[in-house]
């Protein structure tokens, strides 16, 4: 076991994949000599060469579109989108090509493409650098969408994503890049918890709190604070956003009878709405209260001096827990 940051853990996972499969190639802006703007690919070009770790011209649609061609040729491309807000020029290639080519060719062509996206806010960046665009992609059939919340997962899930024959969007919580954690590099990704399974992080009996990516840490902190008040929260790290491991969430909500979902992305049409609706359908008679969402607002990502108001913090999450429990909360007295 070693202590690694998120960024180093992903780097180690990429290195393993490059070593184990000669068909793995990395593509992206500044990923070579610079090692990426977050240094996630640091040293990989030096060790694997410019044909395995490719610095590309600045064109996101082309980065993804050429990955499609490489996949046609039998490669397993891993592309880096430098920042979440830069993924939109590649949107067509991702949703119309990457996602659909397996279906379009009736299974003849596989698209084992991994698209790495540093996402989320909290690092004081200008606009286009702090977005949470995951719902655009969870809405697109043919894609798998995952995110990681600790360095061990960062290490294993990136390898699982690369080994997967389906295209995977791998969202990296950029404000956690420098957080450290234990990583066992001897873990075999094939026998580790599959990337499409959720994980229960804290056992609880009063409320199920679903989080993913950067907010998992906040959710665990909230559960710890709530425990001091005698409230028992079961935190679920969703890990996979498409498909969501509903069986895990259902099992928890059947136990607790209450659901809170939290994410940084705006509320409308977000993953929280999807989880709330699906759990309501499947657990209606087990629910003691309506599911609650604690999310970012439906606004463009705000300037950095106000971003803490947009991002759900520990106290807003606990306020949501109070709503689910029918305890006094910021919305007490409001109808509807």
């Amino acid at each position: 076991m070693t202590q690694l940051t998120f960024a180093r853990a992903i780097n180690a996972g990429l290195r393993k994949s490059l070593e184990n499969d000669s068909k793995v190639v990395l593509l992206g802006e500044d990923i070579g000599t610079l090692g990426g703007v977050f240094r996630v690919t640091d040293g990989l070009q030096k060790d694997f060469g410019t044909h395995r770790v490719v610095d590309t011209p600045l064109a996101e649609s082309a980065i993804v579109g050429t990955a499609v061609g490489l996949a046609y040729r039998g490669y397993r491309p891993v592309v880096e989108i430098q920042f979440d807000g830069f993924i939109y020029p590649a949107f067509d290639q991702i949703v119309s090509q990457v996602a659909k080519l397996h279906y379009r060719t009736r299974g003849a062509v596989k698209m084992p493409i991994t698209i790495r996206v540093p996402f989320g806010g909290g690092i004081g960046s200008p606009e286009h650098h702090s977005e949470s665009p995951e719902a655009y992609f969870t809405h697109t059939s043919g894609l798998r969408v995952v995110t990681v919340a600790n360095p061990q997962d960062a290490y294993t899930v990136i390898q699982q994503a690369i080994a997967c024959d389906d295209p995977v969007l791998y969202f990296e919580p950029k404000r956690r890049y420098h957080d450290k954690g234990e990583v066992d590099e001897s873990v075999d990704p094939a026998s580790a918890l599959p990337m499409d399974k959720a994980r229960v992080l804290t056992d609880g009996s009063d409320v199920t709190l679903v989080a993913y990516g950067p907010l998992v840490k906040t959710a665990v902190d909230a559960a710890s604070a709530a425990a001091d008040e005698g409230i028992s929260i079961e935190v679920i790290d969703l890990r996979s956003l498409a498909p969501v491991d509903y069986d895990a969430v259902v099992a928890s909500v059947r136990k607790t009878g209450r659901l809170v979902v939290t994410h940084e992305a705006g509320q409308s049409g977000g993953l929280g709405a999807e989880v709330a609706a699906s759990i309501t359908e499947r657990c209606f008679y087990h629910l003691e209260a309506a599911p609650v969402r604690v999310t970012g607002f439906d606004i463009p990502y705000p300037y950095s001096k106000l971003e803490m108001h947009h991002l759900p913090g520990l106290d807003r999450i606990l306020d949501g827990v109070d709503r689910a429990l029918g305890r006094p909360n910021s919305l007490s007295g409001l109808e509807g």
Binding site: V25, H51, V54, T56, P57, A59, S61, A62, V64, G65, T66, A67, V68, G69, L70, A71, Y72, R73, G74, Y75, P77, P89, D92, Q93, S96, Q97, K100, H102, Y103, R104, T105, R106, G107, A108, V109, K110, S141, G142, R144, C164, D165, D166, D196, A242, P243, V244, D245, Y246, D247
Partner: protein, 389 residues
């Protein structure tokens, strides 16, 4: 030619970019509209091995493809196909390039390259699968080394460039060839593809079919310069050829393929031709196109041009004409039979191939829909449920 690389013997092509025939001639031509073979100091080299027999074979291909087009249009009018994109008038561009490729080259085309697909050896039932609405893709791309038709304009040029980068990594000498229209040259993807192809010197041929119309929008709306000249801005040598002249197209394509195979990087070919028919069978070109324009282009017809050349050579015998007609008739009838006897897709087929590994969301939806279908006691539903699993 727009650069000094000509692909053989260091020969230089006179004229400036996009003007390979020299002053006064706007594109490379080896056969006049009247069917007269004209010689060219450089490009004759690339078709010097074409025998009389091969000329007859090209004539057969073009005739068969035109017959496929007529038959498919008829099938659409009879309600057997939902839609068809005709290629009438573009036979020389598709055959001249398609017949220049090697089996291990890989084609990424738009939806109008049915003639190229024929040259690649596509199964004719597969050719119609998409247009009948039975599947979203026609064939296994690896069976004929040609991707299934791309609908999003220009998206395939990036796929070809990426594939070519893969060829380069593999140390192979195959080439990726991408077909797109004049309208596509305005798309970002095509421009990004040229940036990547030039930067990495990828073995890719950009085959731009300038058929003058992007549905109702004329090529002059897309570009104020000749399309071939656009490529030079990316550092990609380009050729402008008479797209109704099968030999000129062949010469240009062979040069481009040879350059790519020898590590010379990408080439852009603008084949100047004309879409004689509508954009698709759902289009009405009389709303936007002058009938005189159609007449002018009919006089440059690619098939009658080659027939003219064969006639001058004494090859256009009644026997050849009968043989070609028989072949076209038999292909058309085989295609019609394949179309009308194509098995209907089953309801639960919609869930197939979305993912290559199980997906819990989709399995649940499929399971629920199968139960719904079974609730009607419909044996077809029960069979399809089994079929999809």
């Amino acid at each position: 030619m727009s650069t000094d690389e000509t692909g053989h013997g260091g020969a230089q092509t006179p004229g400036s970019a996009g003007n390979p025939g020299g002053p006064g001639q706007e594109f490379l031509q080896l056969i006049t509209p009247a069917g007269e073979r004209i010689s060219h100091p450089e490009f004759d080299f690339w078709v010097r091995d074409i025998t009389d027999e091969q000329l007859c074979s090209l004539f057969e291909d073009m005739t068969v493809i035109r017959r496929i087009d007529v038959e498919a249009t008829a099938l659409q009018r009879q309600g057997e196909l939902a839609l068809w994109p005709p290629l009438l008038g573009q036979e020389a561009a598709q055959v001249g390039s398609g017949r220049s490729l090697r089996a291990d080259d890989f084609v990424f085309s738009s939806y109008r390259e049915n003639g190229v697909a024929y040259c690649r050896g596509v199964d004719l039932t597969d050719l119609l699968r998409v247009w009948r609405g039975n599947a979203s893709g026609g064939w296994d791309p690896y069976s004929i080394n040609m991707a299934t038709p791309q609908i999003i304009i220009g998206a395939q040029t990036l796929h070809a460039t990426g594939y070519a980068m893969g060829i380069q990594n593999d140390g192979a000498d195959a080439v990726a060839v991408t077909y797109f229209g004049d309208g596509a040259t305005s798309e970002g993807d095509v421009n990004e593809a040229m940036v990547f192809a030039a930067s990495f010197q990828a073995p890719v041929v950009f085959f731009c079919t300038n058929n003058h119309w992007a549905i109702s929008e004329p090529v002059r709306l897309q570009s104020h310069i000749q399309l071939a000249d656009r490529a030079t801005g990316f550092g990609i040598p380009s050729l402008r050829v008479d797209g109704n002249d099968v030999l000129a197209v062949m010469a240009a394509t062979r040069l481009a393929l040879d350059r790519a195979r020898r590590g010379g990087g990408p080439t852009f070919i603008e084949a100047v031709t004309y879409r004689m028919g509508p954009h698709t069978t759902a289009d009405d070109p009389t709303r936007y196109r002058d009938a005189n324009e159609l007449e002018d282009w009919a006089a440059k017809d690619p098939i009658s041009r080659l027939a003219g050349l064969l006639d001058r050579k004494g090859l256009l015998t009644p026997e050849l004409q009968q043989q070609v007609k028989d072949k076209a008739d038999s292909v058309a009838s085989e295609m019609r039979r394949g179309c009308t006897t194509m098995p209907e897709p089953q309801p639960l087929d919609v869930f197939k191939h979305v993912y290559s590994t199980p997906n819990s969301w989709l399995e649940r939806q499929q399971d629920h829909y199968a139960r719904y279908l079974a609730s009607f006691g419909d044996p077809a539903g029960a069979v399809s449920e089994e079929g999809a699993r």
